[in-house]
Amino acid sequence: MTRPTARRYRLIFTIGLLALAFLAAACSRSKARTKAVIQDTGSDTMVNLAQAWAEEYANVDSTVSVEVSGGGSGTGIAALSSGTVDIANCSRRFEPGEIEQAKKNTGREPRELMVGFDALAVYVNKNNPLNEITIAQLAGIYAEGGKLTKWSQLGVKMPPGSDEIICVGRQSNSGTYFYFREAILGKERDFRLGSRDMQGSKDVVELVANTPSAIGYSGMGYNTPAVKQLRVSKAAGQPAYPPTVETTLDHTYPIARPLFMYTLGEPTGAVKKYLDWVLSDGGQKIVLTSGYVPLPKTGK
């Protein structure tokens, strides 16, 4: 009675097979019914923007769902050149070597699409009396061998014990890290060791908000009331500009950069429709509401 007999085994076996068959059928049916999925990954600066686009696009075309993830421009580039995503968000251009790598891996060339601009903002704590800074000063703070390590050297009086400038940066696969290095330090120089390298744009702003003597760089869309965006000037004596839509578009803000979306080869089908919509008025409106700078109307 208690011992399972051969018949019982056969019964269990049959039930198991049936269950498997059902599962398989359910899977294939649900696959047939699901929407087309666009995988969109990359830049952390753009992740909120890309998410806002994806949400809005669900109202535009309900047959397509866009899945967004962050991780950094480098992550997007690596994912695109191994062919695992449809779109890579990038806050910097592909390097020639990366284009080669993508071509070698997938046989297709990455296509670049400019989708907006970001004025890379320099953040300090809201209690910091500093209001403007020059490119040379930023280089002195961030560069390897730079001379600026104390707030008093910038003429800023901090409470005792917090005179040291706490550099906050990004991890090395971040497009923001690349752009800032190129724009501030040039091709030849490297960052100073010992900066706190955060994993996300938001983390930089948060750390600066919690740390009175910190300075950090991050996308303009991450501004909060707990931090202050500095006005930046090209050189001492020249006027300094805040990071805004206007100063980005007329090129007076010195460290503004384009934001890109990359595809492998010419986009087709659902991806092409999506990217066309991103460039349309509806898509560009979202760039502005996410805190970034839309493409100029005439430039399209």
């Binding site: 085994y9 991890q171 190129e182 490297d190 060791l193 010992g194 706190r196 740390t211 009175p212």
Partner: protein
Amino acid sequence: MPALPKRPGIDTLAERAIEALIRLCGVSAILFIFGIFFFVFREGSQFLFHGFKFREFFFSQEWYPTSQSHVRYGALALIAGTASVTLLAMALAVPFGLGTAFFISEFCGPRAKETLKITVELLAAIPSVVWGFVGLTVMNKLIIEIFRTPIGLNVLNGGVILALMSVPIIVSIGEDALKAVPDSYREAAIALGVTRWQLIYRVLAPAARNGLLAAVLLGVGRAVGETMAVLMATGHAVKIPTSMLDSVRTLTATIAAELGEAAVHSDHYQVLFIIGILLFTITFAINLAADLIVRGVRRG
């Protein structure tokens, strides 16, 4: 006595299958370890034997994996970061952990014992990301206020978080080791008129030293290998710490932060795997040392 009914053929077959399955489970642990070691070694081996600079890796603190002009892979600061955080964590966790183990095993009543054990085990169940979050928000502010330092993400923060994570391991294994000491030892000691302190110091500690040592070393292993919490709590700055209030970056955090970006099979990717080999070697050495010590103690 009636003869036993003959077993149906399928029963013996099933039994054999299950036996094989259980054996496979047992062997798989060894297979996995070798598999992991083989994989990690293979990914890093090409660069390890061609072009890898041992001197730079172990004696330079210049970690510039993505430099445009001069790529350098000096891991000294990362090694120092891991060592400093682990040492501090152990300095805090070993006395507290062993103390708690002694208290639970020898001093408290049965009800307090149950409550304490459950609470300590609960401590072990908290995911490391949550610990990291505590370090990033709560501890950061506390350290800034108490020590009047500019930034609270440092060795102290990471060490305290890691100590909190390894205490439960030390307590539960240490408590097991003390429980394994025969009660006749305790009775004999008490009969000789020793105090409780003498009982612990002269009888229990020597009798249970293998188990206590194993508890401590497993705690060390946990601290060396922990990634997410230290990534968030230590500030992630490439720097050899000169005080407990300096930010550092650990070996594990470097792998976690940079592997996603590094192009597969690039030098950077392979160096990250070499760091993996180093970590593997460290934990292997710790475990081997523990094993040898325990054996030596047993024989001697």
